[in-house]
Symmetry: C2
Subunit: 104 residues, 2 copies
């Protein structure tokens, strides 16, 4: 470990992924674009927090927000290329969790 | 996304990894066993927080603490098999961060 130096890029990635709900939201959107109400229901997160997180993810260019001019208006969230490229990370977390995380 | 169901195992893994400092500590220990003082220095984390995190990681069977009866006593932290098996996750985060995280 003596030569270890913490890479600021790695630290930056961890800072994004470790914000509460963020990894779960990104993971969910890997299954396809989602509407706000479906997302809150499936994740069990409050609307207030989901709004905050989605805004932050949009700002970081991880999530794309699209407004469809229908009646009533439809808003969908999806992953950008940057967001989608987290798929291998999520897959490895998934694999690890299947092997090591026990549920009661 | 309509068929998405949040897997409690995945949620459990994310809960562990997203605790502040945890991913960085595990990442650091992948470079080899570490002593407390070296770890605080390299990570820039306070001794109080590192103590808390290491205790929690030991409890979760991710980190092993070994006491060497020398004078003065030497204490080393290393990854357990469960901790070590997070290597592919860390490698993918590393890869992603190299491609997508900008540093100023």
């Amino acid at each position: 470990m003596s030569n270890f130096e913490l890479c600021p890029r790695f630290e930056g990635a961890v800072a994004i992924l470790s914000q509460r709900w963020t990894a779960l939201i990104l993971y969910q959107l890997m299954y396809g674009p989602g509407r706000f109400c479906t997302m809150t229901e499936q994740l069990g997160v409050s609307g207030k927090i989901l709004t905050e997180r989605l805004k932050s993810l949009e700002k970081q260019n991880l999530v794309h927000r699209e407004v469809f001019p229908e009646t009533p208006v439809r808003i969908e969230y999806s992953l950008t290329e940057k967001g989608m490229s987290l798929l291998p990370v999520m897959k490895e977390i998934e694999k690890w969790s299947q092997e090591w995380i026990e549920i009661n």
